[in-house]
Amino acid sequence: MIEGISIYEILTLTTIIFFIGIYGFITRKNLISILISVELILNASVVNFVIINKYLYPDVLQGVFFSIFIIAVAAAETALAVSIIINLYRQISSVEVKDTETMKY
């Protein structure tokens, strides 16, 4: 519970971050930027977990645990994604999305 700030304001903020992430995911041309956008989406949801836990169920800690869990998974996922991107770069010397569509149809 943060004094002077209601849950609505914080949820509005996370919603904005979430959609910024989605916007970035859809419009960025670079795989690294897309990865960053995915991080934004994840972070928005992590903040949601913590805030909802704090405002609605202050006696328990599941929301906080879950947010830590998500951060750990996100870190692993980022490492995996970066390694894929590096391998991709070795193959086609590019990290542009438009160069990765050779397996279509």
């Binding site: 859809i26 897309i34 999305v97 990765t100 397996m103």
Partner: protein, 639 residues
């Protein structure tokens, strides 16, 4: 009687086939020939031992030759209706063992010389092994289904061997023709088997052939279109036999089958496979005789007699020496069929049955000899046609003598084998059916004439000048000729009537002198006519041809039977039945399916752009979908 070694008789050739077939490329040709010969030699010795054991040691109990069976259940439908595999030993199967093994052995020896230098030498011996195996299996079969299986196997090996020169289009089409015509006939055989299986509940020869047995006679009263069902079944089975034995009107494949190598013609299309039809009728003889007073047997007699006459007439005019022999084979097979057809069952009444088997035996020997002799001639002059031959007696003395012996035998001149068996056939026909007797005598004259036309045409006649001087064939080819000639000389003295009869009891056969004199006289007239026409080059034959111009042309073209079949199949069946069905199949059935396929492809071509491969497009679609769904749910909840 100990049967355990008899199973080896078919199994040795099977082993040969597998050995030579699998290691086709690894075995040297010189070795493979010996493997074939020694394998068949083993089978032959076993067959001879079996025959000795059966006929002279342990086959006879109280004056009746017993039937020995050794079998195992293979497929079981009901308690009685089951398909066995096994061996059945009775007089005719033992006799057939000897015929098949001796001719196979001789042909194997002969092929070592005849096929020398051929590319598929080893393959050839492998196929011969397959054929011998199938034929042994056929004669030893214990039931209708087993005989049918081996029946098809001999058909396959015949197909393989006719089409042996597979680069020659005529050989390929001849092989196909032989296979299709006999398969067509075998359809009748199969239906007959099924009818018998359905009504009598058994396939077993022993049960079916038991004259007192109730298996057949119970059902002989069930009638269908005026005849009993069993009679129909027997007629259908005879159609199968007629196809294999080249009876009119299913004979058209046999002349074309001469495209195969000559040893094959000698083995399959003269001595062994083509007599399978005769053997089949003989095998079921008690059924044929007892069901409805032998109605089906009468059909056998008339078809046989007509085929004998028909083929003999065509043989008069053919100029390809192998085709003359092919029609001669058909004619002699007709003889065997008519002998079965006029035969009775008990004692001396069964002389026709005995004569048929006797003629089968002697014919196998002298016709194999004729074919092998013809092969020797073809080997020397590299042509099948009479016009390329003449005066060969100077170059090929052994072939000349052996061919003459065989020709005398088939013409029915005593004391050669053909005289004795043909005489018995004519006796049987004389006693039961005068019309068939006269046909038989007339055919005997024709036979003598065309056979000596052939003999004089090849070995006497005009003195042809040859580019390469023909020379006598090597020992591997002349030995079988001499051996078979020996059998042709002594074969007639085998007391067949004591050994092989319908009721298995045996009787004393006496030479019927008046009938024998008539037959020999007719034969001699034929020979003398041929001597006048063809011994020296003269224009008598040409004058005759001119006098009978139209008739000559008809017979020369085999009464246009090939053309009739072609017309019926191509013009009528193909055009009126097959073509519309094919159109329906192609346009309507296939069309529907192809249309569905084409439409699917078209649609997918149009929409495949959606799968752009861009991960962001997919993400956008996904998110848009989620948003739309979310809006829908919110709308639904708020109302």
């Amino acid at each position: 009687m100990n049967l355990s070694y008899i199973i080896l008789i078919p199994l040795i050739p099977l082993a040969l086939f597998l050995l030579l077939g699998i290691f086709n490329q690894k075995i040297k040709p010189s070795v493979s020939g010996y493997i074939g010969v020694f394998g068949l030699l083993a089978s032959t010795l076993l067959s001879l031992y079996t025959a000795y054991q059966y006929f002279f040691v342990s086959g006879k109990v109280d004056g009746v030759y017993q039937t020995f069976v050794d079998k195992a259940v293979w497929i079981r439908f009901t308690d009685t209706l089951q398909i066995d595999m096994g061996i059945l030993i009775d007089p005719i199967s033992v006799m057939m063992l000897i015929v098949v093994s001796i001719v196979s052995l001789m042909v194997n020896i002969y092929s070592r010389g005849y096929m020398k230098g051929d590319d598929g030498y080893t393959k050839f011996f492998a196929f011969l092994g397959l054929f011998s195996f199938s034929m042994f299996g056929l004669v030893l079969a214990t039931n209708l289904f087993q005989i049918y299986m081996f029946w098809e196997l001999v058909g396959v090996s015949s197909y393989l061997l006719i089409g042996y020169y597979y680069t020659k289009p005529s050989a390929v089409s001849a092989a196909k023709k032989a296979f299709i015509v006999t398969r067509f006939a075998d359809l009748g055989f199969l239906i007959g088997i099924l009818i018998i299986g359905y009504y009598t509940g058994t396939f077993d020869f022993e049960t079916l052939n038991n004259p007192e047995g109730s298996a057949i006679l119970n059902w002989a009263s069930t009638s269908f279109m005026g005849l009993s069902v069993i009679t129909w079944a027997l007629i259908l089975i005879f159609i199968g036999g007629a196809g294999k034995s080249a009876m009119f009107p299913l004979h058209i494949w046999l002349p074309d089958a001469m495209e195969g190598p000559t040893p094959v013609s000698a083995l399959i299309h003269a001595a062994t496979m083509v007599v399978a039809g005769v053997f089949l009728v003989a095998r079921l003889f008690p059924m044929y005789y007892f069901v409805e007073h032998g109605f089906a047997l009468n059909i056998v007699a008339y078809v046989g007699a007509f085929s004998a006459l028909f083929a003999a007439i065509i043989a008069l005019t053919q100029t390809d020496i192998k085709r003359v022999l092919a029609f001669s084979t058909m004619s002699q097979l007709g003889y065997m069929m008519l002998a079965l057809g006029v035969s009775g069952y008990d004692g001396h009444e069964g002389v026709g049955y005995m004569a048929s088997m006797f003629h089968l035996f002697t014919h196998a020997m002298f016709k194999a000899l004729l074919f092998l002799g013809a092969g020797s001639v073809i080997h020397a002059v590299h042509s099948n046609y009479l016009k390329d031959m003449g005066g060969l007696r100077k170059y090929m003395p052994i072939t000349n003598i052996t061919f003459l012996i065989a020709a005398l035998a088939i013409a029915g001149v005593p004391p050669f084998a053909g005289f004795w068996s043909k005489d018995e056939i004519l006796v049987a026909a004389f006693e039961h059916n005068k019309l068939i007797y006269f046909v038989g005598v007339f055919v005997a004259g024709l036979t003598a004439f065309y056979m000596f036309r052939l003999y004089f045409g090849i070995f006497w006649g005009k003195d042809t000048t040859y580019e390469h001087k023909p020379k006598e064939s090597p020992l591997s080819m002349t030995f079988p000729l001499l051996f078979l000639a020996l059998l042709t000389i002594v074969g007639g003295f085998i007391p067949f009537s004591e050994l092989i009869t319908a009721d298995k009891i045996g009787f004393e056969a006496h030479l019927n002198y008046p009938l024998a004199a008539v037959a020999v006289g007719v034969g001699l007239i034929g020979i003398i006519l041929a001597w006048m026409f063809y011994k020296k080059e003269n224009d008598l034959a040409d004058k005759f041809v001119n006098a009978f111009g139209v008739f000559y042309k008809w017979t020369y073209n085999k009464f246009y039977f090939d053309e009739i079949y072609l017309f019926v199949t191509k013009k009528i069946i193909f055009k009126l039945i097959s073509a519309p069905i094919a159109w329906f199949d192609k346009k309507v059935v296939d069309g529907t399916m192809v249309g569905i396929g084409n439409k699917t492809v078209l649609t997918s071509n149009k929409i495949k752009g959606l799968q752009s491969g861009k991960v962001q497009d997919y993400a956008f679609a996904f998110i848009a979908g989620v948003v739309v769904l979310a809006l829908v749910f919110i709308y639904l909840w708020t109302n």
